[in-house]
């Protein structure tokens, strides 16, 4: 069973969200998602300053097996991207909730995060797959 930290929120499309401060959230993909995709070879990230809406495909996680769209779980502005992934996409595999983060977003409405699943809800949604 893959690791699903309790302090994060999750989207059904396997992104996780970590609240930082000032309405900023860090976003990545779950351990379960990276297991499904397998060895990551490229991560195509959005540009800083992009204005994005919930559900937009903003990044592509490309593994040996498949290319998978990553959707923003929140509406707002991309304020940082994980440039380490340019040379080390495997961080998404080895540390999906840490060094393998994808981008940081400044949410238009920080309360939107409440609409995402908690760890328990996400676990249940995986079990249904």
């Amino acid at each position: 069973m893959s690791n699903i930290p309790n302090d994060l929120r999750y989207a059904a499309t396997h992104e996780w969200v970590r609240p930082e401060s000032d309405g900023v959230f860090t976003v990545g993909i779950s351990e379960h998602a990276q297991e499904l995709l397998g060895d990551m070879v490229f991560v195509d990230l959005p540009d800083e300053g992009d204005k994005v809406s919930t559900g937009d495909d903003v990044a592509v996680a490309e593994s040996v097996k498949a290319a998978s769209d990553v959707y923003t779980p929140l509406t707002g502005e991309i304020i940082a991207v994980n440039e380490e992934l340019e040379d080390s996409p495997e961080l998404v595999n080895s540390d999906p909730y840490g060094d393998g983060w994808l981008f940081k977003i400044k949410a238009d409405d920080p309360n939107e995060v409440e609409s995402l699943m908690n760890a328990e809800g996400y676990k249940a949604s995986i079990d249904e797959e």
């Binding site: 070879v41 490229f42 490309e62 040996v64 595999n93």
Partner: protein, 359 residues
């Protein structure tokens, strides 16, 4: 209902992720597909290929039958144990399957055919045998393990008896020999040296375990696919099938045209295709970010084509693919990737051999 190989329990024991592969429950990887790939390029890896079908063809007319059945000519095989790669064609000149045939003598051959096409192949072999004095026997009492990589032979040999060591001593590539309970062949699907070993089912689990202890890394179907693609080897059902001519699948070298009076299944259609010209299977290389995948559209100066296989090449660090395109020799073509057209280089469909780039 899925079939399980004799090594199924060993895969679960090693924590493999199992998938349904044409009715067989097989390991896709045991953790990192990339590490498995590198193990084969740099050291030694092993694959359970027990799902492949082994068929013995024996009898007075075994040679005559195979000379009719196959586009390559088994009469070229003089040495005991020598193997040959061939397409088995239908009357329209499409590929029913590709296979390896081992020659023991003119009345005794062994074929190894694909698992995905097992039933179709068996029916085909039997149908074409009509009128020939041959016996066709499927051998289901073996497991098969491919041990591949620069250190594969050395590590596998630690399991061999004195007689088996002697039997494989100095054996050239593409030979097979029965040595006591093992059939040991210098064949493979990775572009590396190594063996494909048929081992009696009862001994298979133990043999696998001993290979593990000799430092051979278990590898799944995922790594098998990236390795064969780097080596420029076709995958049946993907790079060719019944609707594709071997001439359009980089298999022209497997067709033996001479002697001209040898009649083999599909010969008439093939001669016509040759005269009219066919598509060609080429290699594609893309060094920019992104990965080529099977089924992408290809635009060339001579018309449209399609990628038949594509992947990220772990050895080269960029994307490679095989594509079937109209005849001609463009230096570059365009591939449609995620709604964008990307220009990529055209090369011969072979990318890596013996651990090194051949680009």
């Amino acid at each position: 209902m899925t079939s399980k190989t004799a090594l199924h329990a060993k895969h679960l024991e090693a924590g493999a992720k199992m998938v349904d592969f044409f009715g067989w429950e097989m390991p896709i990887s045991y953790g990192s597909q990339m590490e498995e790939h590198h193990a084969v390029r740099q050291d030694a890896g092993m694959f359970d290929v027990s799902h492949m079908t082994i068929v013995d063809v024996t009898g007075k007319q075994a040679q005559a039958y195979l000379r009719y059945l196959l586009a390559n000519d088994v009469a070229k095989l003089k040495d005991k144990g020598k193997a040959l790669y061939s397409g088995m064609l239908n009357e329209e000149g499409g590929v029913v399957d590709d296979l390896i045939v081992y020659h023991f003598d003119d009345t005794n051959y062994r074929l190894v055919v694909n698992s995905a096409t097992r039933e179709k192949d068996m029916n085909w072999l039997l149908a074409k045998a009509e009128g020939f004095a041959v016996t066709i026997t499927e051998k289901s009492d073996f497991a098969m393990i491919a041990v591949q990589g620069p250190k594969a032979k050395e590590k596998a040999a630690t399991l061999f008896s004195a007689a088996q060591k002697e039997a494989v001593e100095g054996m050239k590539p593409f030979f097979g020999v029965q040595a006591e309970d093992l059939f040991i062949a210098t064949t493979g699907y990775t572009g590396e040296a190594g063996y494909e070993i048929m081992v009696p089912k009862a001994r298979a689990g133990q043999f696998w375990q001993e290979l593990l202890e000799a430092g051979v890394k278990p590898c799944g179907l995922g790594a098998r696919d990236t390795l064969r693609l780097e080596a420029g080897m076709n995958l049946y059902g993907q790079d060719m099938d019944e609707t594709v001519s071997p001439l359009a699948a980089n298999m022209g070298w497997t067709i033996t045209w001479e002697p001209a009076d040898r009649d083999f299944v599909g010969r008439g259609a093939l001669e016509q295709q040759k005269e009219q010209g066919t598509d060609k299977l080429v290699g594609l290389v893309m060094k920019e970010k992104g990965v080529l995948r099977a089924g992408q559209k290809v635009k060339t100066e001579n018309g449209e084509g399609i990628t038949t296989s594509g992947t990220f090449s772990p050895t080269l660090g960029h994307a490679i693919a095989m594509a079937r395109i109209p005849a001609g020799s463009p230096d570059t073509v365009e591939v449609e990737m995620r709604k964008k057209w990307v220009t990529v280089d055209v090369v011969k469909p072979s990318f890596v051999r013996n651990g090194k780039s051949v680009l």
